[in-house]
């Protein structure tokens, strides 16, 4: 018996030992990986900026942006316009500090910004990337045990749900007060808007002779079977929520019913796919966010994209300007570096980065809007408070009731 007992334990001890060993290796590999990734990517950016004459058309989409962001950081360093926020942010922080960020935003979009932050403050950012909603679900499971200090979500919704669950800590008034009032929570300061994103109508000019000017027109028989929506998408649901809040439950339901009767296309899974379908001419019209289009333009160049945008005017709910949002976890409230990071997102450097690199709208005063899209002040959209968009469950119920999700 004893020999048998001895016999099987090696089989159990071995994987543990292996795992422990490889864990050590992997940590080392991570450090190495990060160290090599940093210089490599910055040198790539350097090359792009340094050789604007080489295939000009191909670098056009990326290199001016790179240059602008470099310029911007240079000016802010020189003029000290962001001195107020910076000094507030760095006052309580320690060189060599660190914070853990859960990012629902894509690495490609924000990694360069994080590098700038690390370089500017000496604070190390440990970042976990994922899908905002899945990360929100993970944060809910983690509860107070979360390793995260900051959650930066693609939509107000995910942070709002965590705030409601009592997992977010309040931000100082002066931080939340930096952004346009439209992008602040109505009360309690549990999150702050970071960048603005407009809902838009995308259409294919080769298929649509008369472009619609607002979503209310899309129920016209003229557009029968032509419009694609993504009912499961958080951006679309925020739009429906805005519709409900600004025009009333009945009007929102009626619009959806009319769209269904008008043969709305609902089986495309994502905004990207809708844009691709419209661009390829498979679908004439779609409802998406403005930056998907802007990113496709920077991936393919202006001539490589057929699809065009309409920014609905007036209080059309289709013109909703939503925000990406960040907040501190209970753990992050204890870490001054975490607050410094949120302040950096709202600094002139941070906001300029978003305007130039991700084509999103900056939310603080004095930072120019992205190119190729109408200025933020001109986007009116429905009259509402972004906190009103937290009534997502009612939207869900409505969409479920209509068989859309």
């Amino acid at each position: 018996m004893s020999s048998r007992r001895r016999s099987i334990w090696p089989a159990l001890v071995l994987p543990i030992a292996l795992i422990a060993a490889s864990c050590g290796d992997d940590d080392a590999a991570d450090d190495g990986g990060d160290a090599t990734a940093g210089p490599a990517s910055s040198s790539a950016a350097g090359t792009a900026a340094a050789t604007p004459s080489a295939p000009a058309a191909t670098t056009a989409a990326t290199s001016p942006a790179t240059t602008v962001s470099t310029d911007a950081s240079a000016t802010t360093d020189g003029s000290g316009t962001t001195g107020g926020t910076d000094s507030a942010g760095t006052s309580g922080t320690t060189e060599g500090g660190s914070l853990t960020l859960y990012s629902g935003r894509n690495e490609e979009l924000i990694a360069p910004l994080l590098e700038d932050f690390e370089a500017a403050t000496g604070i190390d950012v440990e970042v976990r990337y994922g899908n905002s909603a899945e990360m929100g679900a993970a944060l809910l499971e983690e509860g107070d045990g979360t390793p995260a200090d900051v959650f930066y979500s693609q939509e107000v919704g995910a942070v709002g749900v965590l705030a409601e669950a009592g997992l977010m800590a309040p931000l100082p008034d002066e931080v939340v007060g930096l952004v346009d009032e439209r992008f602040q929570p109505a009360e309690s300061n549990l999150w702050v808007g970071v960048t603005g994103r407009s809902r838009v109508i995308v259409y294919n000019p080769e298929l649509v002779t008369e472009a619609p000017t607002g979503v209310l027109e899309l129920t016209d028989p003229m557009y029968e079977g032509q419009v694609a929506i993504v009912p499961s998408n958080a951006g679309f649901q925020a739009f429906v929520t805005a519709f409900r809040v600004s025009q009333g439950e009945d009007a929102a339901r009626q619009w959806l019913v009319d769209m269904q009767e008008n043969g709305v296309i609902t089986d495309i899974e994502s905004n990207d796919d809708v844009l691709a379908a419209v661009d390829a001419g498979d679908v004439p019209i779609g409802l998406i966010n403005h930056y998907y289009w802007a990113r496709l333009v920077s991936e393919r160049g202006p001539d490589g994209v057929t699809a065009q945008l309409v920014f609905p005017e007036g209080d059309d709910p289709g013109a909703l300007v939503n925000a990406t949002a960040a907040g501190l976890t209970a753990r992050g409230a204890e870490n001054p570096d975490a607050l410094a990071f949120i302040e950096y997102l709202l600094s002139e450097e941070g906001q300029t980065y978003f305007a130039t690199e991700t084509s999103e709208y900056p939310l603080i005063e004095g930072v120019p809007d992205p190119e190729g899209v109408p200025p933020l002040e001109d986007l009116q959209g429905p009259q509402l408070d972004l906190t009103d968009l937290e009534s997502l469950e009612e939207t869900q119920a409505l969409l479920t009731d209509l068989g859309l999700i």
């Binding site: 899908n131 919704g157 469950e393």
Partner: protein, 503 residues
């Protein structure tokens, strides 16, 4: 006794996701549970999921058995090439295949597209075990049947098929459960099934209850299937005292049939590979984003390391259960095996959240560290390893153990020198299967990987979700290539036996 203790450890691993879905499903009482369960849509999704799983499984059985028979029993030209090539589709991630197809023929969206993608990438789950079984089984039986005047078709149905039945059923089970759990292909093909409803529930409403309820539905569905299949497994005994045929059987002459057979296999390869590869080339051609090659290298090495460690760990955890279920089948081994299979039907996101739930509460020191990620892979892919190993151990005759012990070896020594050695090819198959599947895994990797660690799959996700298709293409291609390595090894397993060497 210690075998049982080890099996219990593995059992805990497979129980975690089950406990989690039940806890979350009933969190707000029976009201919301029943509300989700009895929605008309839930029933519709169940019907769709089961329908898709059944049709894909049926198609993979036909393709898998047919291909394995051609390679193992006939004089098909280029059998060595086909033996490896036919297994390679397993290296193709479902989302890459689906992107390729929908990019080429958008009209494929829907059940047909989902069926096509899932069938073409998962038939090797049947092909490999059947190929193994054909090599192990004695062709002399078939020869005898033929010499006694049976028509080839009747030999195939009456002698060959029963010999591979158990392997085919095991493979078919894996296919069915894989289809139930797959999210990539069905979401890109816009065919909403249960897994997609689960993802939507998280993504759209942050509501964990409906997702967990649907998770329970998936578990129950798969347990029903697993129990039905286990009954088949337990009815038969497969061991024999010899190691198999000692003499190569003369291959069946295809004659004029060899051209259509070759064309059919070539057509299959074109269908599986040409369309997705075309889309990768288009991505490269159309896009301007660039791959950061140092990131690519670090993702490649960590993918290889993680996959290798996960394969070893999974095999070691599966070993005691495989032995128990092959040798001392009882309530414990049956339920552990059943739950492991049921876990295979749960989408990755549910397993990942269950491990977040348990990790934060009970395993904080390893939470979001490599051991936790490896454990997640063990939970996710234990059933893959169990399937291959159970079969291998069931074919190793226990009587040889007894002989060894009567010659003075301890039970452990006997087991080590006889059973383990005889089952080594099957254990290798298990490790290779887990290894290549880990390389393609995304949802659990995203949530549980150590901060700063990227795999090829997470980089591919990251670039495609930022619309940087040109930067994403090399990652998709690399997944295909590195996953093809263990896949090719799978095809080689068992080549030691004389019949294969004679080719």
């Amino acid at each position: 006794m210690s075998l049982i203790a080890a099996a219990v450890v593995a059992a805990v691993a497979v129980v975690i996701p089950m406990v989690y879905v039940v806890v979350r499903a009933l969190e707000r009482g029976w009201g919301p549970f029943e509300a989700t369960l009895w929605r008309a849509r839930t029933l519709q999704m169940v019907v769709r999921s089961v329908g898709l799983a059944a049709t894909v499984t049926a198609a993979t059985l036909v393709i898998g058995i047919g291909a394995a028979w051609l390679v193992a029993r006939t004089d098909l030209p280029g059998r060595r090439f086909w033996r490896i090539a036919l297994g390679l589709p397993l290296a193709m991630p479902s989302y890459v295949a689906a992107w390729g197809w929908i990019g080429w023929r958008p009209s494929l969206a829907g059940p047909l597209g989902a069926w096509l993608v899932l069938t073409t990438i998962s038939y090797p789950y049947v092909y490999f075990p059947v190929l193994g079984a054909l090599r192990r089984s004695d062709p002399a039986l078939e020869e005898a049947a033929r010499s006694l005047g049976r028509a080839p078709v009747r030999v195939f149905l009456g002698v060959t098929l029963p010999a591979v039945r158990i392997a085919a059923v095991g493979g078919g089970l894996l296919v069915g459960l894989y289809v139930l759990s797959d999210f990539g292909a069905v979401s890109i093909m816009r065919f909403e099934v249960l897994t997609q409803s689960i993802y939507r529930s998280y993504r759209a409403s942050f509501d964990r209850t409906p997702a967990a309820v649907l998770g329970c539905v998936l578990v129950v569905l798969s347990l029903v299937v697993v129990m039905a299949v286990t009954r088949v497994h337990h009815r038969a005994r497969f061991d024999r005292a010899g190691t198999g045929s000692s003499r190569p059987a003369p291959p069946i002459t295809l004659g004029r049939g060899s051209l259509p057979a070759t064309l059919a296999l070539a057509g299959l390869m074109v269908v599986v590979f040409a369309v997705p590869l075309r889309s990768l080339v288009l991505w490269l051609d159309r896009g301007r984003s660039q791959t950061d090659w140092s990131q690519w290298w670090s993702a490649t090495t960590s993918t290889l390391t993680i996959a290798a460690v996960a394969a070893v760990a999974t095999v070691l955890v599966a070993l005691p259960i495989a032995i128990l279920s092959a040798r001392h089948a009882g309530a414990l081994s049956t339920s552990v095996t059943g739950l492991a299979y049921a876990g295979h039907a749960l989408p990755g996101i549910v397993i990942a959240l269950s491990l977040v739930f348990f990790g934060v509460r009970f395993a904080m020191p390893i939470y979001q560290r490599l051991p936790m990620l490896i454990f997640a892979y063990v939970v996710l892919f234990l059933s893959l390893a169990l399937g291959a190993m159970h079969q291998a151990i069931a074919h190793a005759p226990p009587i040889l153990d007894d002989v060894a012990r009567s010659l003075g070896r301890t039970q452990w020594q006997a087991w080590w020198s006889v059973t383990l050695r005889l089952s080594a090819p099957g254990i290798g198959v298990a490790a290779a299967l887990v290894c290549l599947t880990v390389m393609k895994e995304l949802p659990a990797t995203l949530l549980l990987r150590p901060i700063g660690t990227d795999t090829l799959a997470t980089r591919l996700w990251s670039h495609t979700s930022a619309s940087s298709y040109a930067a994403a293409a090399p990652y998709a291609a690399t997944i295909l290539i590195v996953a093809a390595i263990p896949t090719a090894l799978l095809s080689g397993v068992g080549a030691r036996d004389p019949s294969a060497d004679e080719e």
